[in-house]
């Protein structure tokens, strides 16, 4: 414990981060190690290129969007606390031990998780998934075998299914409703961050 807490000292703001995100010390340390690995030039922050250097992301159809969720378009860099905060979305929901000083909405709540997923679609940030945005997403996700008409009909149907207020776009609430049956906690939690 002693050694780990002294190791924890080198992580800036570790205690606050733990408090905020609910990560354990081990998590924070692991993430910090990872952060340092990603930060190859030891600048203390990550840049877009650092993420793009991750090999496997290149074969991920939505890899660029994920990166986009980390590195916001306006800001070019990402420091460690932000890095952790984003990853906190993927912490499994606690079942056994409840945190004492629980914030009203921890990052790993269902809503926050969904919000994160939603933001992957909603690239222009207007709070709605427009037809074009859904098309983009689908195009990224679908193989090339699908033709335009098929794509269009898929998008049309998908929107039609989810669009409750008939405004031709999917709002967050509608989105939430449409994936009601999905086990978000299972689907949006990585084992690693437990």
């Amino acid at each position: 414990m002693g050694s780990s807490s002294s190791r924890l000292d080198r992580v800036p703001g570790a205690k606050d981060l733990m408090e905020e995100t609910g990560f354990s010390e081990t998590n924070i340390l692991c993430l910090y190690d990872r952060f340092e690995v990603l930060d190859r030039e030891e600048r203390g922050y990550l840049r877009l290129e650092d993420f793009e250097a991750i090999q496997q992301l290149a074969v991920n159809p939505i890899g660029d969007r994920i990166i986009g969720a980390f590195v916001f378009p306006g800001r070019e860099t990402l420091d460690f606390p932000s890095f952790v905060r984003v990853l906190a979305h993927f912490r499994p929901t606690d079942t056994t031990w409840s945190r004492s000083g629980s914030q009203p909405e921890p990052a790993n709540s269902r809503t926050r998780k969904l919000r994160f997923a939603f933001s992957l679609y909603d690239q222009d940030g207007d709070g709605k998934i427009s037809r074009a945005e859904l098309t983009e997403m689908l195009q990224a996700m679908l193989g090339m075998q699908v033709t335009d008409e098929q794509l269009q009909s898929i998008v049309g149907r998908a929107i039609q299914e989810a669009d409750l207020d008939r405004d031709g776009a999917i709002s967050f609430d509608e989105f939430k409703k449409s994936v009601e049956k999905v086990d978000i906690d299972h689907k949006m939690s990585t084992r690693f961050l437990r």
């Binding site: 692991c30 993430l31 990872r34 990603l38 793009e52 991750i54 496997q56 992301l57 290149a58 074969v59 991920n60 159809p61 939505i62 890899g63 660029d64 994920i66 980390f70 990853l87 993927f90 997923a117 992957l120 037809r131 074009a132 098309t135 983009e136 997403m137 689908l138 195009q139 996700m141 679908l142 193989g143 090339m144 075998q145 699908v146 033709t147 335009d148 008409e149 098929q150 794509l151 269009q152 009909s153 898929i154 149907r157 998908a158 299914e161 989810a162 999917i170 989105f175 449409s178 994936v179 049956k181 999905v182 299972h186 689907k187 949006m188 990585t190 084992r191 690693f192 961050l193 437990r194």
Partner: protein, 881 residues
Amino acid sequence: MAAMRRLALFVCVLLLVSGSPGLASETSDTEDNSPSSDDHGTSSDDHEISSNSTHNTTGDTGQEDSGHGDGHEGGPITTLPIVSWKWHHVTTPYLVAIWILVAWMCKLVIEANHHVTSVIPESALLICVGFLFGGIIWGADQKQTFSLTPTVFFFYLLPQIILDAGYFMPNKLFFSNLGGILIHAVIGTCWNAASVGLSLWGCHQGGAMGDIDIGLLQYLLFGSLIAAVDPVAVIAVFEEVHVNEVLFIMVFGESLLNDGVTVVLFNVFDAFVSLGGEKINAVEIIKGIISFFVVAFGGSLVGFVFGLLISLLTRCTKNIQIIEAGFIFVLGYLSYLTAEMLSLSAILSIAFCGICCQKYINANMDEKSVITVKYVMKVFANGSETIIFLFLGISAIDKTIWVWNTGFILLTVFFVFVYRCIGVFFLTWIQNKFRLVPLEVMDRIIMSYGGLRGAVAYGLAMMLDENKIKEKNLMIGTTLIVVYFTVILQGITMKPLVTWLKVKRASANEITLIEKVQNKVFDHMLVAIEDISGQIGHNYMRDKWKHFEEKWMSWFLMKPSARKKHDLVFDVFHQLNLKDAMNYVAEGERRGSLEFIRNETAFIDFKKKFADEYSEAMPDITVDMSDSYAAHSSMRRDTVPSISLELHDQNTNGLRETEDINTHHLLQQHLYKGRKQHRHKYSRSHFTVNQDENEVQEIFQRTMRTRLESFKSTKMGVAPPKTITKHPKKDQQQKMPNGKSTDNGKYCHCDDDDFEFSGDDGASGYDPSAGSFPMRVTYRPGAGIENPVFMPDLDPMAPMQIPPWLAEAELDSSTVALSQRAQTGLPWTPSNLQRLAPLRISTRSTDSFMMADVPASQRQDEHLPPPPPPPPPSDDDRGHL
């Protein structure tokens, strides 16, 4: 349905009865062979059966090998017989064949009624049918002439089932859960054996069983044989329940791996029983523990070696394609026998043999052989599974094995069940401290409840030595009771229990499109997050292994050509191009036929386009076209089947249905699979042929292109082309030129090409950011030929070397050439169209049985000479339609 069932039953009974008068006079030796129904595709098996049977541990009296007698009835011949009755000549193989037939007929009858099988698992039903048959045989012979002997079971029925399980093992899932599986398989099994044995002994001491002659060691021996969860029973029951994959792999993996433990425990205690209590000291016990590691790892090693052998062998079977599939079975069987010979765990051996070789042989062998292996494997495994369960039932109807001891039997059933639960709960509790996704209580309940015992336990019980263990029959009887209890009762209640506990099922049906998409998004997202957070742990090991595997194993074990195909990112281009070409054609066809069926107006529209294009040249072309559609509708089935049979298999069903289903199917097929997604093939009765594995390349190229474009554009100050919204066709088209350059590993270079290409796009005023897609691209007459892959018909190598911009130019020129020719009015003879018509339609004639024909048809397709007058138009036409 019921009538049919009765009829079939009657037929079975008839078969049986017609056999039995002959049987009654047979020596029991012959009958011992009879259940040994399944052969292994090797012709020598029948000989082995008869020769082995003489060494049967249970072979009671007869030692003469009646099966292969020379068939001459003794006595001098007085005259030339024209025909003679030679029953003895064929007895053994004949009975074997008859029994296979009977068992499979039973399955047929049982499966005829889905209302029953949806409630009661097939395995339980087969056992019950076995009771019936056993009763008939008993009635006819007054003794059980047929029963499952250990020899037959372990040598002829079990191997193919385990090979099948290993060969179709979802490797990634298996190895990522290997830790948990091993804990359950090793510690759990030991715990079961020890606790059941000791508790029974305790109860015996307490006087619960009355007067039976079983000592502590015998109890432990019995505990060890009853401890193992049986792979055959587990698959048979779980296959129909569809629990989630982690749960399944935990139970199934355990059942597969605990064989090593069982065999060791059994052998050790068997030896201890022979030695007698006094002679057992620390040395012997340590030896026992060492032998566990030797047996388990040795068995796995043997399997591994044979797996490598198979892989190596399939590297050079190009010239004997017709039998290359057979090697897998022969060598797999040999690995089983070798391990058995070395007294190692044979089950582990053959399982690992299957696990190791699956990747390489699938890459090395011809596609037809791969499919053959899959089907034959399923036939063998499913067939012998059927036989095993049937004979488990038949074996029960035998007065001689039933020594009833209420205390012993009930206590065994009780302890087996209870200790299984305790063991599972305790072990998962420990595991959950380390597991990243904890196993929930529901999962644990199902795991405990899924501890089915089966034929392996029965086979081991039959192998007990009557001289050493006085109560052998009691043990056999009890084992049977436990088997029935678990397979029938737990099997039947498993499904309701799973439903009732709301255990996570394997992928439940996704109802909405957005859900379906979203689930995929989640998958991809998780993978990405794990990549970013650099998940350490078993993934790290996996990466290392993968690296090693790719660098050495694949090099060693795969054909160079196959290796190229498997090299993940760069070298697949030939393959990819080919596939694209095929998809392109198929897609064109589908587009035509889709519109035709689904949407009348669209079809008219399409026709109009077509007519517009060619009307000057051929006024009657459209009429001809529809005629040829009609004329060839009857030929659809037997003409050239679709090139992409597998891909559009599902889709074809959708064609006739609503658009809604169409879209669902489309999504189903074309959504990229998350990396964590596995294709499960362990189901013994169903499997799907794997689909394309080139998605990774597609995505990779797309991503890199996007990045490079945005990179360049920022660098050069060009407005970034919104590539995401690009038409997929564009992607394809861009990718083709890439092919050549990426082959050289010059990756930037190719993206230069790309960039120019997209610059062209921008210049041509194509605005991809528009929300709706320009139909122009799709319906443009030249669309088909834009894809350079279609050039191979003219000159296979040419398009590769053409730089993209030139390619574009050339394509354009060829389009022009087309219209010129069209204008000159070169005759489009109907025969041309007729030749194309089946192609166009063929997406609908997808039939899984025709899958084997695919490559042939592809070749045929490739060699299909272009229609005589103008070669380019025909290509164009094919792609376009």
